[in-house]
């Protein structure tokens, strides 16, 4: 396996609280890796750590062969793009202006603007289907359109690796599928390595080449969706008893939750 990123014995703490401990993970080049797990399991922290937004307490993250700690800010931003969990921009900013920001890491004092920047912006807006919105203000867009524009910004960054932190959280079902199909296409047609944090286990199983389960700050399991989507493992990680069947359309495993089996929520009240 060609590694895009390797995480070695990574521990991250917020003050005294350990957010993730001793995580080892290799992220395959050109694949879609999905980090999944219950709330507070550390999946978003891991994603942000990969983008060096958290200082590790111990351990190391490498980009190819280079430790990311040795890279300059803009250099890192030319390798890894990040779509934040709840990104925000001024309402009066135009779509084109936001997508242009994706070129920020490519601009230097000596070369503030190049033709490559203009091409990248056009390609990113075309690829996400927002070219016709270029002059619109962000405040006038629907949630689905806005998310496409944010993806266009990350795309304009032209990074080999794209990290997305719960990109479909606030979208309705149609736009969730639309958004993840778009991400899948970026992976297949442009060969981008994609790392996603997803809440919805079934969406994760549908779009992942490789699934990573996390629980209480540790990595629990790691493999292809068919290997990980087992009833006992899901019950252990997510605290739900469930049935797993095969999705008849995509031939991916599909989890049907039955009931909460986690003791931390207490026993169900007697009826």
């Amino acid at each position: 396996m060609d590694k895009a990123i390797s995480v070695k014995a990574l521990t991250i703490a917020y003050g005294a609280a350990t957010a993730i401990s001793a995580v080892d993970l290799d992220i395959a080049k050109g694949k879609v890796t999905v980090l999944a797990g219950p709330n507070g399991c550390g999946k978003s922290t891991l994603l942000r750590a990969i983008r060096r937004l958290h200082q590790p307490k111990s351990g190391e993250i490498r980009l190819g062969d280079m430790p990311i700690s040795g890279l300059k800010e803009k250099e890192l931003a030319r390798h890894i793009g990040l779509l934040a969990q709840s990104p925000s921009a001024p309402d009066d900013m135009s779509v084109e202006e936001l997508v242009r920001l994706g070129r920020y890491p490519h601009q230097t004092m000596l070369q503030p603007w190049s033709a490559a920047d203009a091409d990248a912006i056009q390609a990113a807006m075309f690829g996400t289907g927002v070219s016709h919105l270029a002059e619109r203000r962000l405040g006038s867009l629907s949630g689905g359109q806005l998310q496409r524009v944010w993806i266009a910004m990350v795309l304009a960054q032209e990074t080999d690796i794209i990290c997305l932190d719960e990109p479909v959280n606030h979208l309705d079902m149609a736009h969730q599928i639309d958004c993840l199909d778009l991400v899948g296409r970026l992976n297949r047609e442009h060969g981008r390595t994609v790392v996603l944090v997803l809440h919805d286990l079934n969406l994760a199983a549908r779009y992942a080449d490789r699934l990573v389960f996390m629980k209480d700050g540790s990595m629990v399991a790691d493999g292809a969706p068919v290997e990980l989507m087992r009833e006992a493992l899901i019950e252990d990680v997510f605290g739900i008893s469930c049935r797993v069947i095969e999705d008849p359309v995509h031939n991916r495993p599909l989890c049907i939750p039955i009931r909460n089996s986690s003791p931390r929520f207490g026993a169900a009240p007697a009826a």
Partner: protein
């Protein structure tokens, strides 16, 4: 601005062009108001005549009135008002908060206190300064830096939360003003007749030497402003997104705060604690020129200049020959405006 315009799509180039046209119009208004500011006084001098005097004509008496008495006053008003406005623009951008300004963040109070301590320590028996006035802005900068550092330290872990910064800024500013007041009452202050300057801000009794010090300092600071302006756009985004684009936000924020402190200090060093220009001028600038950053900075500077020249003109028209500090006008207009902003935010953000 061919550099700024390079690589813009037709739509953005149009927006940028319109912004610079607005800046040009504001610049004309600034010049007209400055000529009025020089013309108005115990005797009115025509703008045309002022231009003649400025380029070397006029009687000896006219030359003294225009060049020695009135022009420095207007010049310092323009430079100080402009510097505070640019400081406000930078602070509002980098904190993503329209309430941020040198006054609200305690920087003006800190700079004023720095100057007053400097004057108290370095004045002799006859109330004259024993060292060069060049050190006066330096003292203001130290005061401003200490104030902003205190605000940062008090905000602690949540220094990125704009609301906490503002609350501690207001508190630090109030403490600095109180300390300034005490020093003025008990301390031996050089030119005590101008005590009000360090509390309210005023531009009377300014000489060319002082204008020169501010102008040179400002020219240096502006190089920093232009360098910072190129990196400002990602700060419009949330912190994670901005950092994801490769902007080292924690370091950049400190850089911008330092620059804003320096600009404020240059203004306060001789014009005193003129309030609210750093709040109002950037708002008006963004209303007129929109989002382009360099045009926004230029418009802020000019509008800040207009506001302080105008405020000084108002106190001169209304209260002459009594010298009322120009800062009272900006405070009378600025305070209700600030309250309006707070109330409006309260109604939308809970």
């Amino acid at each position: 601005m061919s550099i700024a315009a390079r690589g813009l799509s037709p739509a953005l180039a149009r927006i940028n062009r319109r912004a610079w046209m607005a800046v040009a119009i504001i610049a004309l208004i600034t010049v007209a108001l400055a000529l009025c500011g020089i013309g108005f006084g115990s005797t009115w001098i025509d703008p045309g005549r002022i231009v003649e005097i400025l380029i070397g004509e006029g009687t000896r008496g006219e030359r003294v009135v225009v060049l020695q008495l009135r022009a420095p006053r207007v010049a310092i008003a323009a430079l100080a008002g402009g510097a505070m406005a640019v400081a406000g623009y930078l602070l509002q951008k980098v904190t993503r908060n329209e309430l941020a300004s040198p006054g609200v963040l305690g920087v003006i109070g800190g700079a004023g206190l720095g100057v007053v301590i400097f004057l108290a320590l370095l004045s002799d028996e006859s109330n004259s300064l024993v060292t060069s006035i060049v050190w006066q802005p330096v003292a203001a900068m130290i005061g401003a830096s200490v104030a902003i550092a205190a605000v940062f330290l008090l905000s602690g872990q949540q220094a990125s939360s704009a609301v906490r910064l503002l609350l501690f800024g207001i508190a630090v500013g109030a403490v600095a003003k109180a300390a300034t007041l005490i020093l003025m009452i008990v301390g031996p202050i050089y030119r005590t007749t101008q005590a009000s300057r360090w509390l309210a801000g005023a531009v009377n009794e300014i000489n060319w030497g002082e204008v020169q010090v501010v102008a040179i300092g400002l020219a240096i600071a502006m190089v920093g402003v232009v360098a910072v302006a190129r990196r400002l756009p990602p700060t419009d985004l949330d912190e994670v997104s901005a950092r994801g684009l490769g902007l080292n936000l924690p370091v950049f924020r400190i850089l911008v705060f330092a620059l804003a402190s320096a600009l404020t200090a240059l203004a306060v060093a001789f014009a005193g604690g003129v309030g609210f220009i750093g709040l109002m001028a950037p708002h008006l600038a963004r209303l007129i020129v929109g989002r382009p950053v360099l045009a926004g900075i230029a418009a802020s500077f000019l509008l800040g200049a207009i506001m302080l020249i105008g405020a000084d003109l108002i106190v001169r028209v209304l209260f002459a020959p009594t010298e009322v500090p120009a800062g009272t006008v900006t405070a009378v207009i600025g305070t209700p405006y600030f309250l309006y902003l707070v109330l409006r935010r309260g109604s939308t953000n809970g």
